[in-house]
């Protein structure tokens, strides 16, 4: 696996680089390759360096109060150089009320005073890790095609003793779905609502049984890009809305040795 590459940058005139230097070394000790820009960098210089150094993430540090102006500028400059997919994170003396503002401006996350190197390193791994083929942490759910939810449910609830979380109809897919919680994951029972439903076609062709396995991801678009880079094809090239307002995308089974995998990014605020 290639090492994660990080650019640590000091935008503006602020000379406090203790945090930037400590973090640079800390991330190196976590196995990342870190480039530090030095002091007094303009947003344009930082964006250029990020591209030249081919980094996976840009970390900005400012303690002078100029973050409201300078952090969004770095995001903008990256976009203008067609590198908007490089995530930008930040840290320093940043009042909590500015954090949501910066996140709205496209900064992925702000680490304030008192954050540990450990937290930061873990965050970067989950943020950019997938691009490097990093581990997928859990199964979101296993989809099981059934002729009738009503008939199949008692097996799951009464015999296996699972808890039914709810039943939902998804018009776009022409399916009705029942969710059964098992540990941190779920079974998803899928029943066709029309004859055009892919579930109907599946059952006609193969009979009832396991339909797909869904993998939980944090940033579905980034993950799709990185999988595409690795030659994985998708049935739907753009994410679409699935159950519980989640964003989903199916990998083509011919790219995955016959298994239908789904990527699933749960909706925020749950």
């Amino acid at each position: 696996m290639a090492k994660i590459r990080v650019l640590i940058a000091k935008p503006g005139l602020d000379g406090h680089d203790r945090g930037a230097l400590v973090i640079a070394q800390g991330l190196r000790d976590h196995g990342m390759e870190v480039v530090y820009t030095g002091l007094r960098q303009s947003p344009a210089q930082i964006a250029k360096a990020a591209i030249q150094e081919d980094v996976d993430v840009v970390g900005l540090s400012s303690l002078s109060g100029a973050h409201r102006t300078l952090f969004p500028k770095v995001v903008e400059e990256l976009k203008s150089l067609n590198a908007g997919d490089i995530p930008v994170i930040g840290g320093g003396v940043i009042p909590s009320e500015d954090i949501s503002f910066l996140e709205e401006q496209g900064v992925k996350k702000i680490f304030t005073s008192g954050s540990s190197i450990e937290e930061l390193a873990n965050y970067i791994v989950t943020l950019v890790g997938p691009m490097e083929g990093e581990v997928t942490k859990k199964i979101s759910h296993i989809g099981i095609a059934v002729k009738s939810i009503e008939q199949s449910l008692p097996f799951y609830t009464k015999i296996l003793g699972l808890e039914l979380e709810g039943i939902e109809e998804i018009d776009s897919e022409s399916v009705k779905v029942a969710f059964l919680k098992i540990g941190d994951s779920r079974f998803e029972l899928l029943e066709a609502t029309t004859d055009n439903s892919p579930i109907h076609k599946f059952i006609v062709k193969r009979g009832e049984g396991i339909h797909h396995i869904a993998l939980d991801v944090e940033d579905i678009e980034a993950r799709m890009r990185s999988l595409s880079k690795n030659g994985i094809e998708f049935i739907n090239p753009e994410p679409k809305t699935g159950a519980h307002r989640s964003q989903i995308a199916f990998m083509h089974p011919k790219s995955t040795q016959g298994v239908l995998f789904e990527l699933c990014e749960e909706a925020g605020g749950e």
Partner: protein, 548 residues
């Protein structure tokens, strides 16, 4: 060596008598709450070691303080650093602080001013008025000091690379108020070496920077004799992550580099050394901090007397300002910071500081609000007026622990000084990154110890609570940058631009001649309302820029 103890004691008593004539003690007698008399000084008899290593306050080697009666006569100067936004707003905060009993001003400048950029420079974007007040021309300085009598108030200015420009502006405002240069009191930080090491607001390379500094020493020696021409600062070295020993050692090493530069420029050591001042940090390790201040005084006194052969005792005295440690404050449970600041301030007082800034509880979050700044000032006032620690000189002197720590810190400082000397002195050591590496190593080790919970920070890695940190914070108005730019435009339009061009031209000419003192040229340019950026650009052209 046999020391005549009676003679030393007699000398001290005489200097106490002289001192009291000028600065009477605060009370005719001092007592505890149980009416036990508190003596001016406690010291042993027949202890040769004591007389050699500690001696008396106000006497060489000043381990116990630089004045014979210390705070029995006068408390330290309570000097809160302030400055944000526009000159007019900052002026209001200053007048408020003076009304609240603060005894000296301390000006924080914004980063463009500190790095010699005008507010409308591209490099200044987003930084105008953020960490301090924006000063472009004399016009802003006049607003900053409006209705503040410069013959009565002493002003400390945290300005380094363009220190001569801001000092010139201060002198010019004084003249407009009718205050002669000779009566101005205050301090400019003017310590470029620690900027390269730790703080980052450098402009020019070391050599021309050292020239600007020695030009100031020389000019002030003749014309502004009551001004402290430099404040050799360990504060930022410590904030960058150094240990107490590194802070003290690197500061003294830098001090020696300035003395060397001035002597090389042809100045007599006793002509400038009495106006050198120092600036230290006060961190959490209570006794170590106290010992650090005491050791630094002793080390400096020995260097000035023995190594540089200074004759004037004023040249031997390490006078210092202290600020409590900003990096020790937590964003979590910010009210706890009041307690940290109290202990740090107490350490500074027990270490014999001449002036003190106490940080506000909310500084890990943003610039302090008026309420937080007031609590910080009150902290000092409580220590001074209620604790009784100011009633006897050096109350911890003679403590086995404190004296052992003082000796040990002195020893370790001297080891560093030898090492730096072998590298060729501070300037070379900095250019080679020696101090920067040492500090970074310590900073990183500290961070790891905190993360492994080997070092406990209350509220951060232990005794945590779920909290919404949303105190009232000071906001700098975003419109300020626009207004400051507009005001600068107006000045550029209204001033006599021929005068500006001609004074800047003369400055450029003088910069080429190493034997010229640049201060008078800068003063002329400032009086013509040339801006900080315009003046620094002339010098950038002649001197080049550091790191670029």
């Amino acid at each position: 060596m046999k020391i005549d103890q009676k003679d030393i004691e007699k000398k001290w008593k005489e200097s106490v008598d002289n001192n009291i004539k000028r600065f009477p003690e605060r009370k005719s007698s001092f007592q505890t709450s149980s009416e036990i008399d508190v003596e001016r000084l406690y010291y042993p008899e027949n202890d040769n070691d004591y007389y050699e290593k500690l001696g008396f306050p106000g006497e060489y080697p000043y381990t116990r303080g630089i004045q014979p009666t210390m705070y029995r006569s006068k408390y330290w100067t309570m000097r809160q650093y302030a400055g944000f936004g526009s000159a007019i707003e900052t002026n209001k905060r200053f007048r408020y602080l003076l009304e609240q009993g603060q005894t000296g001003l301390s000006v924080a400048f914004d980063l463009p001013t500190q790095i010699g950029y005008d507010s409308d420079d591209m490099m200044a974007e987003g930084e105008v008025g953020r960490v301090g007040v924006a000063i472009d021309t004399l016009h802003d300085m006049e607003a900053l000091l409006d209705k503040i009598p410069l013959d009565k108030v002493s002003t400390s200015m945290t300005i380094n690379a363009p220190a001569s420009v801001l000092l010139a502006m201060y002198i010019a405002v004084g003249e407009k108020q009718g205050v002669e240069k000779g009566k101005l009191t205050g301090t400019i930080q003017n310590d470029i070496l620690k900027e390269y090491i730790a703080r980052g607001t450098y402009i020019f390379p070391p050599k021309p920077s050292m020239r600007l500094i020695t030009n100031i020493f020389e000019y002030c020696g003749e014309h502004v004799p009551k001004f402290n021409t430099i404040s050799i600062s360990g504060y930022h070295i410590r904030e960058a992550g150094s240990t107490a020993v590194q802070e003290a050692a690197f500061t003294i090493a830098n001090g020696m580099a300035y003395v060397d530069a001035a002597i090389e420029a042809g100045l007599d050591v006793d002509a400038f050394a009495p106006r050198l001042a120092f600036f230290f940090n006060a961190h959490n390790n209570f006794f170590e901090e106290i010992a650090k201040f005491r050791a630094a005084r002793r080390v400096w006194a020995k260097i000035m007397k023995e190594h540089y052969q200074a004759k004037n005792p004023k040249s031997w005295k390490l006078r210092f300002h202290t600020q409590t440690g900003g990096s020790t404050l937590t964003a979590q449970q910010p009210d706890n910071n009041i307690v940290r600041v109290t202990m740090q301030a107490l350490a500074a007082v027990l270490g014999g500081t001449q002036s003190l800034h106490t940080n506000s509880r909310d500084e890990a979050l943003a610039l302090p609000t008026e309420e937080s700044a007031r609590i910080a000032l009150r902290t000092q006032q409580i220590i001074a007026n209620e604790s009784g620690v100011a009633d006897t000189v050096d109350p911890l002197g003679g403590s086995y622990f404190v004296e052992a720590l003082t000796d040990k810190i002195e020893e370790e400082m001297e080891a560093y000084l030898d090492q730096i000397n072998e590298l060729g002195g501070s300037v070379t050591a900095i250019e080679e990154g020696f101090m920067q590496r040492e500090i970074h190593r310590t900073a990183y080790e500290t961070q790891l110890r905190i993360e492994k919970e080997e070092e406990i920070i209350v509220g951060l890695n232990k005794y945590k609570i779920d909290e919404e940190v949303n105190p009232e914070l000071l906001k700098v108005d975003e419109a300020l940058e626009r207004q400051q730019k507009a005001s600068l435009q107006e000045i550029r339009h209204d001033r006599d631009n021929e005068m500006v061009v001609s004074t800047l031209k003369q400055l450029g000419w003088a910069a080429k001649k190493p034997e010229e003192n640049l201060m008078p040229y800068i003063l002329n340019a400032v009086k013509a309302y040339a801006s900080v950026g315009e003046i620094c650009n002339v010098l950038r052209k002649e001197f080049g820029e550091y790191g670029i």
